[in-house]
């Protein structure tokens, strides 16, 4: 058993403990305000919230799964033309943060709000996850089974339901559970569209009550629901059949339905990507004459400085844990990795609230400062960093490390002189991905930002509260262009290299 350098162990354990602490404090806070919390949860309003949240989660997951799988099937298994174009278009909504999506629709249709609006926006925002998982799974499943089924007389629909679907079900289900978690924790879009879910109620309770035990109670409900979903997800994890052989692509001839399928996919792309971008561009143009460029530049500077600082901090801890997990796998490293993932899954608003409590009561010298916010970003995005860094680090051959150590270098020196330089491009890409993810973040920043710090996201939020669409649009457009699109590009590249690693 190779032992990791002490520095890695220390950084890893510190990260795991630190990310759990604010949540422990949330529970403590709840314990002391117990009666208020029970009173809050016993109100009929809680049932209304549960119904709303439940309905939204169920419908969005269903429609995102159907849409994502359908798109993936058409793109990988049918003979539609321009399949690559449609593949890119299907993943493109990932470049638009969900609250920007909500804003862009509302700017076009001011009455766009409520359940239907939330369902539509979140389906658009989450179906790319299912699409990417399904198309990756479909690409790895041997189509020979489907060929056999067809030759035995099954119709196209039966082939899909009896042969294709069962083989990709595990990874699609995993993606669907991701959609569930995402919808549960979604705040920006549902708040803009004025639909009352638990997250919106949490935010309102936070800013409209003096005794924040009510807010803590709602936060607890969200934590319980999230843990439930995580537990379900862990039962489904793994178990997909993977073929390492080169897979021939067999495309089903759709015949006359081909054009119909292409039209359908185009309509989806127009609604999901075309309309929002059009809205942003038109409104940004309208707002260009009255735009306060100083304010925009200040928000840009605020966004980037926060993101870069957070990126560096997250990179240090992320590298430590990724190195530990990929090269010195042990029971402790697995525990650390698990715990970091659990806190990551919690809604950002819950993490923010826990840190507000923690900051103002336990560590007042840290409260309202840059570092508490960066700490919050660490809790939320450390797993993203670990995932992004694991692949490039895993690709560095272990034999090189052995050679280096046999030549007399210590483990730590080997990391700095051999592993990191070789993994540098992947590490830099991982760093960039984390920076871009922090750039797009909204709810945590709203709760924890230091006085006088503004980001593109918070400025957009403030403008939408006043229905000032022209003022909001430049921020929205910048978020898509500077953060959304580069992040999507990096994400797709990372997925490709992950597949290369998995296939040997």
């Amino acid at each position: 058993m190779r032992k990791p350098p002490v520095s890695l162990t220390l950084l890893g354990v510190f990260a795991a403990l630190a990310t759990l602490t604010p949540l422990v404090y949330l529970l403590i806070r709840l314990g002391s305000g117990y009666e208020k919390a029970v009173e809050e949860l016993a109100r009929p309003r809680t049932l209304e919230l549960l119904a709303n949240t439940g309905a939204l989660v169920i419908t969005v997951t269903a429609s995102a799964t159907v849409l994502g799988f359908a798109q993936a099937w058409f793109v990988t298994r049918s003979n539609i033309r321009f399949a690559t174009v449609f593949a890119v278009l299907a993943a493109l909504p990932l470049a638009i943060p969900s609250y920007v999506l909500a804003f862009s629709f509302q700017a076009l249709f001011p009455a766009f709000s409520g359940f239907f609006a939330s369902w539509l926006v979140l389906t658009i925002a989450t179906s790319p996850y299912v699409f990417l998982a399904a198309s990756a799974a479909l690409a790895q499943v041997d189509p020979a089974n489907e060929e056999v089924a067809r030759s035995l007389g099954l119709s196209a629909g039966q082939v899909i339901s009896k042969v294709t679907w069962p083989q990709v079900r595990p990874s699609v289900t995993a993606a669907a559970l991701l959609v569930v978690l995402y919808t549960l924790g979604e705040f920006g879009a549902v708040a803009l569209l004025r639909f009352d879910t638990f997250t919106r109620a949490l935010y309102n309770a936070y800013r409209s009550s003096f005794d924040r035990s009510a807010a803590a109670a709602i936060a607890l409900v969200l934590v319980v629901l999230t843990l439930l979903v995580l537990w379900l997800e862990s039962r489904y994890r793994g178990g997909f059949t993977q073929t390492k052989s080169a897979v021939r692509v067999i495309r089903v001839d759709l015949g006359r339905s081909k054009t119909l399928a292409e039209i359908l996919l185009s309509v989806v792309a127009v609604v999901a990507v075309g309309l929002p971008m059009l809205s942003l561009v038109v409104w940004a143009f309208r707002g260009s004459s009255t735009a306060d460029f100083d304010r925009i530049l200040d928000a840009l500077a605020g966004s980037f400085s926060l993101a870069l600082i957070a990126g560096v901090v997250i990179l240090i801890f992320g590298l430590a844990i990724a190195l530990w997990v990929t090269r010195y796998q042990s029971r402790l490293s697995r525990i650390v990795e698990r715990s970091v993932w659990v806190t990551h899954a919690l809604p950002a608003l819950v993490v923010g609230l826990a840190l507000v409590f923690f900051g103002s009561n336990i560590t007042p010298w840290w409260y309202q400062t840059l570092w508490l916010l960066v700490f919050g970003y660490l809790i939320l995005f450390l797993p993203n960093a670990i995932a992004a860094l694991s692949t490039p680090l895993a690709q560095v051959p272990k034999s090189l490390e052995d050679v280096s150590q046999s030549l007399g270098l210590t483990r730590t020196k080997t990391i700095f002189k051999v592993v990191l330089p070789m993994a540098a491009p992947g590490v830099l890409a991982g760093f960039a991905l984390v920076v871009l993810t922090v750039l797009k973040e909204l709810p945590l920043t709203l709760l924890l930002r230091p006085t006088e710090t503004n980001t593109l996201a918070t400025r957009l939020w403030g403008a939408t509260e006043e229905l000032a669409y022209a003022e909001a649009a430049p921020y929205a457009l910048l978020l898509v262009l500077l953060a959304g699109i580069p992040a999507l590009a990096l994400n797709l590249i990372a997925r490709r290299s992950l597949r290369e690693v998995q296939n040997g």
Binding site: P5, V6, S7, L10, L11, F14, R43, R45, E48, P110, A111, R194, N204, A205, Y206, R207, S208, S209, F210, D211, R212, A214, V313, I316, A320, S360, N361, T363, P364, W365, W366, Y367, Q368, T369, L370, W371, L372, T410, R411, T412, K413, T451, E452, G462, E465, E466, L467, A468
Partner: protein, 341 residues
């Protein structure tokens, strides 16, 4: 070798945590202040940045005192100050709701405002015991679209009736609405208020801010809304009053829907800087700003409101002492119990 690197890692970790201390400005917890703190102050403002920052900038230009302003909702900031307690970084708190100021005063977190400054303002616009002072007056009005609303409601209580379903816009997260609900609790009692809130929950279209309501009524998205008067006048000055689609109306005399309220200021630390801020905001320069730039009512004598606004004394307002509006917490609970936020 590895020992030095692990100590480097340890050092990094500790440095990161300790630098959090350095990043904050040290705040003293006592009431009175030392000289070197006098050149800057931290203001929590429940009023919007667009309305407040210009006059704050003017304050800095005139006195050289730097002001760090934290903008957020009035109730949220009140809750924050209460949570922070004595170690709050805030030196002063500007609120849109007398109730929020009353809550902080009741918690014993405000310092008394010097009598010579406090007495500049009519006592009916300020809190008890010199703990907070009014800065500008505003009146609640009904903003309506004359094409859609042909019969004006006599009392704000009528808005909970079924015929107003989906036609009335409100901003329950906004401090001015919360003030108005507190006033209703005082004049009409808890039960009537509770019933009214439940009716408004059925009828109302919820927005975040008064400015959003005005926009919605102007564009025909909703028939009417409850806002503060100055939003309409500010828009009228921008586009021309004759070009406005919507109009303003008052309810019958002494109806609680005509509430006169103030935006007010309280100081949490008694320093040269905070006294200078109070003095400036009650000076003719600042009061003239509130009259001419934001279209509110002045609180000092000697200044007239803008043309088009009825003099404050002529307004059909209910008879309420603003310092009685200090039970914001209960109001918030009623509003939340009705499911409005």
């Amino acid at each position: 070798m590895s020992r030095s690197l692990s100590s480097f890692a340890l050092a990094t970790v500790f440095a990161l945590s300790l630098s959090g201390c350095a990043a904050t400005t040290p705040e003293s917890n006592t009431g009175s202040e030392t000289v070197d703190e006098a050149q800057s102050l931290v203001l929590y403002s429940g009023r919007a940045e667009d309305l407040v920052q210009p006059i704050i900038d003017q304050f800095t230009a005139e006195t050289g005192i730097e002001v760090e302003v934290r903008y957020a909702g009035t109730a949220e900031l009140a809750a924050q100050i209460l949570e922070e307690g004595e170690s709050s970084p805030a030196d002063a708190y500007l609120a849109q709701d007398a109730g929020a100021l009353g809550a902080i005063a009741n918690a014993g977190l405000f310092q008394q405002i010097p009598a010579d400054l406090f007495d500049l303002v009519n006592p009916s616009f300020s809190g008890a015991d010199n703990l907070w002072v009014g800065l500008s007056g505003r009146v609640r009005v009904l903003n309506y679209n004359p094409e859609k609303v042909t019969e004006l409601p006599k009392s704000v209580l009528e808005l909970a009736e079924p015929k107003w379903q989906g036609r009335i816009a409100i901003a329950p997260a906004n401090a001015s609405f919360q003030s108005f609900v507190t006033a209703m609790r005082i004049t009409e009692g808890e039960e009537v208020t509770r019933t009214w809130l439940e009716g408004i929950k059925r009828n109302g279209v919820v927005f975040e801010k008064n400015s959003a309501i005005l926009e919605a009524v102007e564009t025909g998205q909703v028939d009417a809304g409850l806002i503060n008067h100055y939003y309409w006048f500010a828009r009228g000055a921008e586009v021309g009053a004759e070009n406005m689609t919507s109009k303003l109306a008052a309810f019958e005399p002494r109806d609680v829907g005509n509430l006169i309220n103030v935006a007010g200021l309280g100081i949490l630390k008694d320093t040269g800087a905070t006294r200078a801020l109070v003095e400036f905001l009650l000076s003719e320069t600042a009061q003239r700003y509130f009259v001419e730039q934001t279209f509110e009512y002045p609180v000092i004598t000697g200044l007239e409101a803008v043309e088009g606004l009825s003099p404050m004394g002529d307004l059909p307002a209910p008879d309420i002492d603003l310092s009685d509006l200090d039970t914001l917490e209960q109001t918030l609970e009623l509003i939340r119990a009705a499911g409005l936020i």
